[in-house]
């Protein structure tokens, strides 16, 4: 059978999940553990810790050549292209079991209480229909499941935040940066990371290779192929890899009936009572917009016209500091040695609303953290006789990096490009994204603060980098949640207003972005949505199918 022929009808599932990243893993596991028939369709396949660059000679060249974070540069068979002619940023993502956690840094901060109330507190954007306290129990359970490391009592959060595993050592880098922030009188806290310091579930103990972002060769980073999928499969979820979904199907009444997808043996239609989208803030919007029907002429779940809109990308920036002493900055883990929330909350005297989350980390790799940052400087400050000092300075580099809160703007959006397609002929998404004035003000302010932090720590040279190639991987807001179907796409339980048996459980449903790395919040939302779905299905009489 070729990829154009339909296959025979297939089994019907209670829950069909699209995308095997962190939210897909959690939804699949939760539903399967409750006895529901669950399948997950993933266009990529498995990676292995043995694949990652740290296993190879010239590991930094391997990283640059084969593990690019942007799909248009990486071009793996599972990747789909992005049309990027009208965007200030090129989003990154990873198509594989585990999704973009394959190459995330495993920083694990939560949104703060104020993030859920920005309209009330700051008069911008919208409040979320849930609060921090609503989500806190789900954050806790996710943290416990994957073995988050950190230190209880972070003063940037309400009481009760207690990572289950001990923190990683601050090391020379952490002590150096913390002392500097104490001089400045700024908040800091040992970083929370989804990297267990001791064996936890399917995860190994961190061995501090330092190549977390390029994939952990130890299997000690909570990429969700390792951290959650083994449990989901053991619970009975069926994971189908190499399955590229191209349409969510609906009946004459507009309810979802399943999905159409392409696999190595042809085209398929899989039926399901519920479809849960977990394909990230770009992939989910793409598929909803591609799923037009008589009942959904503007795309599925799009009567509000908001599917694809309000794309938030967390423009990241960083400042590399070069120190004249041995700080063992080749050592991992790479997540956050310390985080600072000093500039997270709104202070209107700064000339903008909301703020940024900053974190310091070690910076392994002379090419990645020494040579490449110097490429932004005049040619002769890297090449020529300067090169000898550059590579020596690079042996002692500390990274300060920040996520910038990106407020929702309807003009920042995902649409379907009329010309570009993936290898299966499925139309590709187009990204339209421009920095707002508020975003740029936060970024400029934050860059100045990170340079200040380096100088306070005694850096002999600092390079501020406003735009980081390969960032961001935080794809948020394109199917926002809310209670009003006119101003939102899904309700607080992730159900599409227009098709209640369609749910969305990925970063698409964020109302605002905050400036904390979003994966912990995506996971908490996915767990909340999945448990509510299980309750719904049970109430409908489909419960405990296998047990009965």
């Amino acid at each position: 059978m070729n990829r154009g022929e339909p296959s025979p009808p297939e089994e019907e599932y209670d829950v069909l999940v699209v995308g095997a990243g962190p939210s897909g893993a959690i939804v699949s596991h939760t539903a399967a553990a409750a006895g529901l028939r669950v399948a997950c369709l993933e266009q990529g396949d498995w990676t292995s810790p043995a694949d990652y660059p740290a296993n190879f000679d010239m590991w930094e060249v391997v990283a640059r050549a084969h593990w690019q974070t942007e799909p248009n540069l990486r071009k793996n068979p599972a990747d789909y292209p992005l049309e990027l002619s009208q965007t200030d940023l090129s989003p990154s993502m990873y198509s594989a079991v585990g999704g973009s956690t394959i190459h995330f840094g495993a920083l694990w901060p939560r949104l703060t209480a104020s993030d859920f109330r920005v309209r009330t507190l700051d008069g911008v954007a919208d409040d979320w229909p849930i609060t921090y306290h609503d989500l806190a129990p789900y954050y806790d359970r996710v943290d416990n499941f994957i073995g988050v490391s950190g230190l209880e009592g972070d003063t940037a959060y309400p009481e009760g935040l207690a990572p289950p595993l001990p923190r990683h050592p601050l090391g020379k880098t952490g002590m150096k940066t913390a002392e500097a922030l104490n001089q400045l009188g700024w908040h800091w806290w040992p970083g929370a990371n989804a990297i267990p310091p001791q064996k936890h579930g399917a995860l190994a103990a961190c061995a501090r290779w330092g190549t977390c972002v390029q994939g952990c060769p130890e299997g000690a980073k909570a990429s969700f192929d390792l951290a959650w999928w083994p449990a989901a499969i053991a619970a009975g979820a069926k994971l189908v890899t190499g399955a590229r979904v191209y349409e969510i199907t609906t009946d004459d009444g507009g309810a979802v009936t399943g999905v159409n997808w392409i696999g190595k043996d042809g085209r398929h239609h899989t039926k399901a009572r519920y479809v849960v989208m977990c394909a990230n803030g770009i992939g989910t919007a793409r598929l909803l917009l591609l799923s037009k029907s008589q009942k959904h002429p503007s795309g599925l779940a799009n009567s509000s016209g908001l599917v694809g809109r309000n794309l938030m990308l967390h423009p990241n920036c960083c400042a590399m500091g070069y120190y004249g002493e041995d700080l063992e900055t080749w050592r991992g883990p790479l997540g956050a040695v310390i985080s600072s929330m000093e500039f997270y909350e709104t202070d209107k005297s700064r000339g903008f609303v909301r703020g940024s989350k900053m974190h310091a980390s070690t910076a392994p790799g002379i090419i990645l953290n020494g040579i490449d940052p110097h490429r932004s400087l005049p040619f002769d400050q890297l090449w020529g006789e300067s090169f000898h000092q550059v590579i020596r300075d690079a042996c002692s580099t500390i990274l300060w990096a920040a996520n910038i809160e990106d407020l929702p703007e309807e003009t920042n959006r995902v649409t379907i490009d009329p010309h570009l397609t993936d290898e299966d002929g499925i139309p590709a998404p187009k990204i339209e994204y421009r920095f707002s004035e508020n975003t740029l003000r936060i970024r400029d302010f934050t860059l100045e603060r990170m340079v200040e932090a380096h100088k306070a720590a005694g850096a002999k040279k600092v390079i501020a980098i406003a735009e980081m190639p390969g960032e961001p991987g935080h794809l948020l807001g394109t199917a926002r949640m809310g209670t009003d179907p006119k101003t939102s796409v899904v309700d607080p339980d992730g159900r599409a207003h227009d098709a209640p048996n369609l749910l969305i459980a990925d970063g698409s449903i964020f109302v605002t972005s905050g400036s904390a790395n979003p994966t912990s919040t995506i996971c908490a939302l996915a767990l909340k949505i999945a448990e509510n779905l299980v309750t719904t299905v049970r109430n409908e009489g489909y419960a405990d199918v296998r047990a009965s």
Binding site: G44, V61, T131, W209, Y344, E345, H388
Partner: protein, 164 residues
């Protein structure tokens, strides 16, 4: 892995296939251009070695180019172009290349940098470790906070805005 094995390796959807053997050796002309470019970008300075003077420079550059095999045609064309550039003009030419054809310059300079950094002399001089297992000791974190370093943060108290 043999060339035959590389040809028959199953398609992996989410992992980029990496070549283990070079397509071919650099020609003498290409090697000469690589050495000139390396010595232009990394000239000797005092006791510091120039780009091409490290042991095994061409072998190491070949290894890097093999990892970057997808860009080999571009590299091949670039080396042919640079063969016509006199040594005295090479710095200016590479500077312009960096400005207007960054991807090509990036590939060339990455190969040269990687070869240089992975040479025995530079690895020894920098003493910078490659990624390796170095798990934390059981007591490594014990003394850090007992130094009182976190006390100012705790004494300051909460910094979040309550939304209640």
């Amino acid at each position: 892995m043999s060339a035959q094995a590389e040809k028959t390796a199953p398609l992996r959807l989410s992992v980029s296939s990496m070549k283990r053997r070079p397509r071919r050796a650099f020609t003498e002309g290409e090697a000469a251009v690589l050495r000139l470019a390396a010595d232009t970008l990394i000239p000797a300075k005092g006791a510091y070695l120039s780009g091409s003077s490290v042991t095994g420079f061409i072998d190491l550059a070949t290894r890097a180019a093999t990892i970057l095999d997808a860009r080999f045609e571009m590299l091949e064309a670039l080396l042919a172009e640079l063969a016509d550039i006199p040594a005295a003009s090479m710095w200016d030419y590479l500077e312009e290349l960096n400005r207007v054809r960054f991807d090509e310059f990036y590939t060339l300079s990455l190969i040269i940098s990687a070869a240089y950094l992975n040479s025995p002399e530079i690895r020894s001089a920098l003493n910078y470790p490659v990624p390796h297992q170095n798990p934390a000791g059981l007591f490594e974190i014990a003394d850090e906070l007992s130094s009182g370093i976190l006390d100012p943060v705790i004494e300051r108290g909460p910094v979040f805005v309550s939304a209640d």
